[in-house]
């Protein structure tokens, strides 16, 4: 017997941090979460799983397009076998969920108390407690019942566990406490990066189904669990994402241009191989100390094109959505003509009035942005951040001084 464990599907939520690009075919980015979810259902049918567990955040809470729920219902009809659904922080108060009539094969865990479902023919017992609200500061697992004897007990829980990482703490709990429950498998959700907190018993975050952000790199999908006689014999991650985010971090230290291009091609080829034919959105980052530091600034478009060419050579679909140059120049033995002006530029930030004025102007700039963009836009808020930005901005000033036509 097999079952599938997935979480953090966020159906129909958009990809973030991706500017619209004319060269990017719309089919690549459209309906990614839907297509990934359909691929998961395909996998469930192909593997002939006995049931599917979704450990929270099927939808985004404020998402109000009812067609998303209809799509889910349709996929559930196609699945045509039990699906156990837990509400997480994102879909606790989902507008869709409250109105949607789900097919009979979908069973939703109660949000008032921990609810158990038993499959006598499989000797499986599932226990879960849906989020009643978006914020759940207490440990929900404390209210889960003792294991049902003679059954494989599966705990379904939406939680930030002990290490929320970039996320807020939600229904925090400790793996040790979960292990004490005597369950065979804990199907967790909420953390978007796949983690196995324990293998005895299995405590698994499957990660989200589809990467939706440049930081959500690598294979995304669900966990396929194989059970023999109420014992888990195999747990494997199965990628079902339809679009792969990749980070091409390339060290330019000691490289001349041909060597750099060769390194770039190697990274692209590795990313292409890992993507297994999926389209790739890549962020290219160059680091290291190199004498090409200055010349690279005017070559971001070319670097992106080289990545694309390398991808074509590797028979892959790859687009570079951003290029970051974090290289450092080689230590110079001689003094350039801009050095004294550079020193004066750096000293100008010792003027508190100038710093205050700039911070005030940047704060005003932040207010010009739409609300959702204000928090995560990279704009300095204090003296130290402003100085860091000014160091980066010197490159622009130097370019303008050397060649105003190209600035």
């Amino acid at each position: 017997m097999k079952f599938l464990h997935a979480a953090d599907i966020h159906l129909d939520s958009p990809l973030t941090g991706l500017r619209a690009r004319a060269d990017l075919p719309p089919g690549i980015t459209q309906h990614c979460t839907r297509r990934a979810f359909a691929a998961m259902i395909d996998l469930a049918l192909a593997e002939d799983v006995a049931f599917v567990v979704i450990a929270g955040d099927l939808y985004d809470g404020d998402w109000k397009d009812f067609s998303t729920g209809l799509f889910f219902a349709e996929q559930m009809r196609r699945l045509n076998r039990p699906c156990y659904l837990l509400r997480g922080n994102h879909d606790a108060r989902s507008i869709i969920t409250s109105k949607l009539r789900l097919p009979a094969n979908v069973r939703e865990f109660s949000s008032r108390t921990c609810e158990s479902f038993t499959l006598p023919e499989l000797r499986v017992a599932l226990h879960g407690h849906s989020f009643p609200n978006r914020a759940v500061p207490e440990d929900l697992s404390a209210g889960y019942p003792a294991a049902t004897p003679g059954h494989l007990n599966i705990g379904v829980l939406h939680t930030s566990a002990e290490d929320p990482g970039e996320h807020e703490p939600y229904a925090p709990c400790s793996p040790a406490a979960l292990a004490l429950k005597g369950y065979g498998y804990w199907a967790l959700g909420h953390i978007h990066k796949r983690r196995e907190l324990s293998t005895r018993p299995w405590i698994v975050f499957p990660g989200n189904l589809q990467g939706r952000h440049p930081n959500e790199t690598g294979a995304k999908g669900c966990t396929l669990v194989t059970v023999e006689d109420t014992e888990i014999v195999n747990v494997t991650h199965r990628a079902v994402d339809v679009l792969r985010w990749a980070a091409l971090d390339i060290d330019a230290t000691g490289a001349d241009e041909p060597v750099l291009m060769a390194r770039l091609a190697d990274h692209v080829a590795s990313a292409a191989e890992a993507a297994e034919g999926r389209p790739i959105l890549a962020r290219l980052t160059l680091i290291g100390r190199t004498d090409m530091h200055d010349s690279l600034r005017s070559q971001t478009e070319r670097l992106a094109a080289e990545c694309r060419n390398a991808a074509i050579a590797a028979d892959a679909d790859l687009w570079v959505h951003s290029v970051r140059l974090l290289t450092q120049p080689l230590a110079r033995a001689t003094t350039g003509k801009l050095d004294e002006l550079h020193a004066a530029y750096a000293q100008a930030l010792d003027d508190p009035a100038l710093v205050a004025k700039l911070l005030e102007e940047l704060a005003a700039l932040r207010q010009k942005l739409p609300g959702p963009a204000r928090n995560d836009v990279v704009l300095p808020r204090n003296d130290a951040e402003l100085r860091t930005l000014a160091v980066e901005a010197w490159a622009l000033a130097a370019d303008a001084l050397v060649d105003p036509e190209q600035a």
Binding site: D12, S13, P14, L15, T16, G17, L18, A20, Q30, H31, R34, K64, D65, F66, S67, T68, L70, F71, I95, K99, R332, A333, T334, T335, G336, K337, E340, L341, H342, A344, Y345, A346, Q347, A348, L349, D351, L354, L358, L362, L365, R366, K368, L369, P370, A373, V377, V378, L386, L389, A390, E392, A393, L396, A397, A400, L401, V402, P404, E405, A407
Partner: protein, 1161 residues
Amino acid sequence: MKLLRLSLLRYGHLTDQMLDFSAESGLHVVHGANEAGKSTALSAIADALFGFPHQTAFDFLHASQNLRIGFTLQAAGGMQAAFIRRKGKINTLRNDADEIVPEDSLRAFLGSTGRDVFEQSFGLDGTRLRAGGQELLRSGGEAAESFLASTGLGNLRLAMAALDERAKSLVGDGRGRRRLSEAVEAWRAAQRAADEAAVAPRVWAEAEAAAATAEADLAALHQQARALAEEDSRLNRVRRVKPVLVEIDDTRAVLAGLADAPPVPADAGARHKAGLAAAREAAADLKRAQDEHVRLSALVAALTRDAPAIAVQDAIDALAQPRAVAVQAAGDLPRVLAEIADNRARAEAAIEVIGQDLGVEEARDSLPPADARRAVHRLITQREGLLVARDRTRAALDAAVRRRDAARAALGAVEAPVPPVRLRRTIDAVRSLGPLDAGRDRARRAVAQATQRCAAALAALPLWSGDLAGLVACALPLPSACSDSAGVLESAQAALAQLRQAAAALRAEAAAVDRDLARLAAGQVVPTPEAVAAQRTLRDRAWREIRRAIEGTGERPTPAMADDFEAERDAADRLADRRADEAQRVAEYLAATARRAALDLALSASAATLTEAEQAQAAAIAGWAALWAAAGVEAQAPAAMAEWRRAREDVLELATAAEAAREALADVEASWARAAADLAGVLPPGVTADTLGALLLRADELCAAMEAACQAYQDRVQALAKEDRLLPELRRDEEAAQAGLAAWGEAWAQAVGRLGLPGDATTDAVEAALQGWARIAEIAPVWRKDESRVADMRASLACLAAAVEQVQHVLGEPGGDEPASVAAARLARRLAQARAVEAEAEGLARSLAGLERDVAAASERLAAAEADLAALRDAVGVQSDSALTQAIEIAAQRGVGDGRLAALGHALLAQGDGLTEAELRAESVGVGPDEAVARLADIKQAREALDGRREVLSEVKRGALARMDAMQQGGLAAAKAQDAEDALAEAREAAALYARVHVARTVLRAGIERFREAQQGPLLRAASAHFAMLTGGRYARLVVDEDGSGRMVLQAVRPDGGACPMGSLSEGTRDQLFLALRVAAIELYVARGQVMPFVTDDVLVQFDDVRARAAIGLLAELGRSTQVILFTHHEHVVDLARGVAAITRLGVSVPDMFHVKQSHG
């Protein structure tokens, strides 16, 4: 650093050209006609000092790898060194001994100056001078632009404009669409679109309900249509089956009339017809077979057969293969014999070349083996290589011996120097202490500044006239006591102020109430109850007067009395009426009157309280003053005294800082003295300097020279050791080459012996013999094969002749002159003819046998047909065939009737929709054809109405399902949400990029201002003096002042004080101004220790003689602090410079010391 010599060994179009700059002169004028190579020499200086660029324009005459520039430099301390620069990727710098030296060797001369600074700041030509002047005009003399341009930094204005433009394209100033605003607008639009595209649950429910309703209506409709269809079907069925039922009845009547005829088998007709036809066909076949048998028997008897030939047919067939071989052999034999003869002739010629006494076949059969011949070939080739190797190793050995001798001589020519270890350690130790000169100066300045600040602060401290010690010692009240006393004072002052404020408020209110009362009473009497009562009293008094007149005195009332009464009465009535009308004014007036009385009471109480508060304040002030009396200062207000306390602490803090500065100075002075003493201890006597830096520099130069000498000596030792190491190996190589040649000789003798040649045979003789053997080897295989073929061909001819003779003997043919191959062919033709006759005879025999079988079969078929006809007659019970025919026809009529009846049954079944005949007859009873037609028309009309309704409902259902399908597909809102997210990302990036650009431009602008301010003071002073000198006093100085638009701009000032902006200066004057600024900038570089030659090319080309003379004077003055080299092709410039400058002319040859061995390039 000074350039003492520049040798253009191979550079551009120049070869072996030298420019010599004496160390004594500060200004050098290099004269050369156009195309003489001035510009080339100018470029050569930068290439020499900093290396060739990857691509050079100066390799058109000399190949790139052969470019060479020699140059000699002198450092500030007097140290000199000569170098050679070549074009290449690595190791491009060599010393005058043509030894590779590291680039750092130039560091002592160039310091931290890079190529760009040298070219931009220390290089100037006429074009750039004019461009600088024009830029001054374009920028309007903007100060930052001017000063920075003079230091080699241009593009400021353009750079700022470019950054501004870029910032504007991102965010702008609120006017027009920019990247950020476009992104925000796109986000809003996408948000709206997403909201519009989102499917609401209510919409889904409505569509679902509509679909369900339509489905139910359609089901009801379907039931009605079904009932109508059933009735329609029944009526149509009745109309279809009625004629069939009538025809069935008719057919059954006909069959009843044929019921008495005899029975006939069902197949009787067919059997009768088939029996007659079979009898006819069998009789015809019998006659045809008998006739053909007779004809073929006659043909067999006519054939002629050859039995003897058939008897020996195998022997004749066996002749065919040898005959074909013999015919081929007879044709080829002459040609092969000719080829054998030709090969023998070629072998005889080869034997002559070989030079041995051999027969041709003997030579062919004794051919030396191929490996022996190849071995000799290899040895011939190998000999060439061995000879070359021997010569090369000998040459290498000789060269190494020469180099070893030269290195030994070079080492012996110098003594081993002593390494300056102690001097270097001392220098490093002193240097590790940091810049002590600057530190001492800074410490002294710090002491002076701190002392001055402290004194100034003390002088500025109010309320204090004593000295610093007194200030330190003065007894200040404790802060807590101060705080308490100040609290009391402030409370008293606050209470007094509050009371005064309250009293003032009471007075102000009283005045306001007075004003209100005046306003309310303005113009007329206020109709208060008292006023009304008073007016009525007057009225009553008037009445009483009248009444008294009437009743008391008996006097008749006068009209005036009546008038008075009426007037008083009317006044009282009006007042009473007004009171009703002006009740509000009356109430306000009464309230104000009451308030005014209350205020009078409050003012009295306030005056008493105020007096008490004033007394309390006086007591508090006295307490505050007593508290500060011990400190010796006159107490001011608490806040002022708190400020005074802080100011005093500042003064004390400055005093502490001044003391710390003095201690720091003492430390630095001690370190400086120790360092100077340490250096003096390791330097030769007489080496002194004013500053520790200069002393350190002298020590460093001395130490570097000693280290260089040590390094040079060590290099010579290593060179000799290297050659000594190489020699044994080279000798071994030479001996090995010689041994190889000896071994070759032995192998040669052995190899040529296998060819039958003497061991000392020359290579030419052996090569000739090898060629001969090669020719024989080439023809031998073909030759042997041809001889073998001749023998084979002759044998096959003999074999055929014998076989033919044997066959002829068996057949009894006589032998003759007929060739064997012809006879064999003839015998083959005879056999073929005999075989053809035999085959024809066999074929005829087979045909006759077949005909006999046909006759027997036809006879059998005829008898069977006649028997079958007889049996049929018996079965029907007739005697003749005609009776049989009649009986069969009656049976056929009965069969037709039965068939028709069956067909009608089938038709009834088909048209009766599966009902039985009885059911159909029952259904038809009572249904008239006309009634059925009328009813069917009604049904049709009703069904058409139902169809129309169904279409409408179906459309409704389809629409609902389509909407549901679209909603299920959905995703449009998600797509728009993605668009919104993309727009957000765009907005974020635009904002982040704008922030970077904005910070860059804002901080750069501030940095430029700082840079300008830092540079401006000394630069402006120096440039002012230079400009005044260049213009011969026509302009007294330069100033930086604000122009009409608030910009800080550079202006020239005439001796009378009149300021001249850039636009009013002539082009030549602006050139002079730019030159003055550039020279001042060079002086700043020099003052900071960055001393490099100032190299100019025809900068005076636009100057008249007066200006040129002044400029030469300025450059000569600059030459006192750093070397100035002026290239020119104008003779008059040379004349003007004569006396103040050293004159050099292009065209002097390079001395031998700069020549480099080409082989080492």
